[in-house]
Subunit: 284 residues, 6 copies
């Protein structure tokens, strides 16, 4: 069973509203290689795991638990980018003109029509998340290879999205996730090492010096690229795999640690009239 | 952030392998009105909630937390139905014939080709789960109406699936979920009562006497239809809504309670050769 | 604007329940070349028609109007095939066993889980109808060529479905629709004749002697293959195109006529308990 | 069977071409909660209705009949927004440059590539209409709850699209449809009242004063929010439900009335060369 | 079996980078009527061909072979349009700003997130290519009618895309393909002539004077509209059909010829850092 | 440009008709990890390759060329399994009963409705092939990791399908493809070795002794698991990578060789009447 404490896994850094940035960041949420995919893929792999080598299941499940927080983090980041976009009077258009005429130009129109300026389970092109993306064939090596490829692609896409906007809200979240995706590359690569592979100098993929990204460097200094956060309230065998020398060029020792101190969930301002939430008297 | 304790929310009742039952039960996992939909819908509604009437958000999030356990419960039930289906030598077909020739006849073939006799994020017809099913328009009344319709449809479908098989593994899980869906109908109907509706004798939908289902009756006697399990490790305002007289014909008082004592996650037997997991030496 | 009289365009011939026949007949309703496609394709072509050559628009719209009745006819045929399938006590499974365990074996399970033993907007494989199938490029010749190909494919598929079952409910409806699809082939082929084509002996496609199908022969004798039913309550220019010698090997003169005498819509029996409709006191 | 008179259910108000407005208005045509969904959902619910409480079927079918006209109205509105967009010489690009280079910038490119500047069965993001959106589970309460949620979502989305453009062609059609969606909310809410619900002050959803929208106010003054237009050429039992006090905060008596006087279908200008219709000599 | 020589079937004409042009040109690659559809449709029709009238199969397979080259030509054209789009330092964003912020505004964001500025199997709206588009019903006349409609639609869409940009890279490729689509119209129309049709003056569709497109005229002068390129390394019966008078208004004699002299495959410049290919030392 | 010689890459071994086997074998053709995916993925990776390390592009393109033949091989195998399924008189149902009533029971109904007993671009569950499956991110390591995972999954699925039927037509084709997929695993693993990985004893995945499959053993004895067939008519740099010690437990030296002697394409018998091809006089 799953428990919750109302804290985000990283901070939402404020910057100005930016619907175009929100649109492309959706790839990291609902895209084929985004956080919903990683969350659901590791969920199915955990629940469907066969046999007694439970240390591998505990590793996969441990990453799954963190990915739920990643989904929540990207949802919250997109919401922050959409808050207050458009003129100040949405919901009064009958008297006040077309307040989001301009905002919608480079936006995903569904952020305004379907969502109340809020995140959606879709990618940067507006395609909905699809269950066929979940890879879980049960053969452990095949599953781990896919996980490794998935985390590598996650980093690659995030560095590309990073180049599409200098908005600090977007970049702070991407920076954190890039470092964590590297940690998860380490986790799955290490698991494959226990099965015989020697990765040489292949990882991380892509071959960036993540210290060149200022948003990443501080998390590297905190050791987040070599840490596996433990969200279990009972015992886990994850440390049997996630320990010792990292398989990555970045070097260092792998360690299972407590989760980070949590960050407050931002207050999402209500929207005038009925677009959301429609509960003015109760908003106190 | 999300925490986990390795316990199922209900027991997996053993019965014989039954791939045809596994196929139709997929609707309750990856179908348009299945547990993955409820889980992701309430996740987005929680993260995207606007304004200060947080008691509604806490209610929705509370149900979301339970739905993660429901997904895990249905995954585990489907796995149990697929365990040991087919002849005893899968993975040795080169020498041993066509051991799952017969098993696949009324099955979803992907349970054997894509999964290692394990659950998939698809519905009873094999269609993959789709993000466009998530309803989250931000207007609280619209969102609650959809949630109510979703939980009603969930019960309706589950009673229909119940009629498709007398397998006890399938029926025990459906019985538990029918009662919990009724509790969640109560939760959302009650929330709409606080906003002005008087439901008369409309709920639950469908209008069954659930005591006629033996698998349901025992959970009703435990009060599960009027309980909201609390998975929060910090404070929640859920009790401001979920209390007092039930909106349902079934009667009784609504109460926020601790989660049930958990049930052990079943050992999934490994499969010979490489279909899963391929780790014989490590299976100990 | 659209008006309605509660009459079916052809009779629903009774035969025994047959979920396997219902499953394959869905192709003619929600398939890529089924009646929903023809209905929506001609609807968009009518509304989006440009220029003053309105006789072509009236022809396309005339066929559109009939296709609405075709959709209703196939829906009703599928319902008839599903009525009373399974044992007699659906909705009492809690006490009565698994009444549709057997019925669902060769069925589309969604006919029982999603529908109350009733038709769905999907094809024979369970894939949902998709808007991308609608062809409407605005260039009249391209649109007419597609319509002709669509009607030819419709006949071809229906003769193949015909071979999958000897159920009279299924065959009577298919027989009627095959003859009407031939009439619509004639309509679009004739329209292309006015633009310069000489079809030689190409049509109808496929090259069957439809008189060999007893269900078809009687409609041929009634002249339905050369008639265009007129559902307009005001004037139409459809007769400017649909007249004179048929472009088909079958011979005869094309004529715009009144619609057939309508047939009564069958009473669909209610289902016990709540599966449908849940309104016992009101059922009188 | 279905009959037609060539009249639109509301006027197409002229304004300047606006492909960006056409793009977002597609949501109201081919979106998950648009007019094609309502039309097809009520069509399946009508044809698949079980049991003798035909007054409910007549109510659903009555709304279905109007929805066909709504689809035609939105198609025609989108066409009007696309007419004459781009430079004046489309179809002569070989000699005349790139006349729609600019027009396509904020447009759905398929409006120009697939359609001849005409409506498509897709949503504002370009996703095709999908049959899985049709809700028809046969249990009357479940179906009515979904219909109510659907009409509420329709209004909510339309008020949001309204804010995206001040184009009068778009706003006039949205204003009319908002009022009619309110009438249909009333219809389904009233039907649920006959089954026991007291809606208190919940409806309409969203909780707007629609008189603040000038395009809506005039239709309210005409009583369109409390009227059910009757498109039947034979008897209907719709008035057994749709009568008496409205369930809405807006007040008033519900009444079954004749359809509005129809409006002329606009002439769609032809396009040069072959893009559409390619029939210059015949255009007279 | 299939063999390859590293040559393009037409030249890639250089012009400036243009992501907006690349976006709309995707329709001709991965759209419902694009080159991937023609390639796969004729592939299935060839492999699945029944009976002894092999001259028809050889005709269809002959066109299939050319379509593989068309896919490669459009892929290469899109790559050329994306090369060097954005500022010069992608992959250094951590230190260098947001180099593709501007480029992505009217682009398909997946060209930058998923592809390394390279072509994708999607259409102009970003929808992925779909196997359900392949038409292969086995009845020869039905298949040929669909092929004819497909090639006609191909030309129609390409002339519309042509009007969306004056970029020479885009226009040169479209010009070549328009002429070849006309040749393929001729091939399938001719095949239908051998089965009895007289096309009168119907083709080509659309009814353009392609000599008005300067990019087309030179290929017409080379006779490409009446030629069928032969990519077979063994015997083919294609000439039994593709010969004699063209069925098109454009006039001339049909002829099977050698393929064109090939054109060099352009060098695609590498991208800095890791976006692509990540192999600096090996790039020599 | 692409050339063709009418030869299959392996023999079609005759056995009895088997629509149930044809249904599951579709996974290897149009499934997410089937031959159409590998073919199109390597096609896009080849055409979109950046930079000067062309030996990697030549390797990927070399595998692409073989995959076209694999698609044709699986198409032909499925056709063979469908030939003569059902009673002997399809196309005469009007007089002869329901000849494919029985055959369709465990079949994909589209094999008979859409295809003329012939292969389709869909998977074992009937889902159409989808362009979003193509992985081509441009970063060479990421692309190679995906290719390796894809080939491993291909083998895993094929060994599972192998267990579903003892039909020799199905098994012979699967045996050949399993060995070739192993060769392609070697190709991509070797490419990653040149970039630093030491695979230890990880490959092939899954960890079967393929000599236990009699259909595989003979191809292993012919060295097909260590050969890269060369379909180029000009020079290729593929041998710079594909040489030396195999990365697989199976051992041996990698070698670029000529393609196998081709096998005759089987005559597909025509079908009576019009289902296919409809050309009786021409069938000689």
């Amino acid at each position: 069973m799953y428990y919750y404490k109302e804290e985000l896994i990283n901070i939402i850094k404020p910057d100005k509203p930016d619907p175009a940035a929100a649109k492309v960041l959706q790839e990291a949420l609902g895209g084929q290689f985004g956080e919903m995919r990683t969350m659901m893929q590791y969920f199915f792999q955990s629940s469907n795991f066969r046999g007694k080598a439970k240390q591998y299941r505990d590793l996969i499940r441990g990453v799954f638990l963190e990915e739920i927080s990643h989904v929540e983090l990207v949802q919250s980041t997109i919401n922050q980018l959409l808050n207050d976009s458009g003129l100040s009077t949405p919901g009064n258009a009958g008297v006040d003109g077309a307040p989001i005429d301009e905002a919608v130009k480079h936006a995903n129109p569904h952020h305004f029509i379907v969502g109340a300026k809020s995140s959606l389970p879709v990618d940067a092109g507006g395609n909905p998340w699809n269950g066929s993306w979940v890879y879980n064939h049960g053969n452990l090596i095949a599953d781990l290879l896919n996980n490794l490829m998935l985390e590598s692609t996650g980093v690659l896409q995030k560095t590309r999205i990073y180049e599409m906007s200098s908005n600090q809200t977007l970049r702070e979240t991407l920076g954190f996730l890039i470092v964590r995706d590297n940690a998860h590359q380490n986790a799955f690569a290490k698991a494959l090492e226990t099965l015989g592979v020697n990765w040489g100098k292949l990882f991380p993929v892509p071959n960036y010096d993540i210290n060149k990204y200022p948003e990443c460097r501080k998390y590297v200094e905190m050791g987040y690229h070599n840490a596996q956060f433990n969200f279990r309230l009972d015992q886990t065998r994850i440390g049997e795999i996630f320990n010792g020398q990292t398989p990555s060029r970045n070097g260092g020792e792998l360690m299972v640690t407590d989760p980070p101190e949590g960050f407050p969930v931002p207050e999402l301002p209500d929207m005038p009239n009925e677009h959301a939430s429609g509960l003015y008297d109760l908003n106190s």
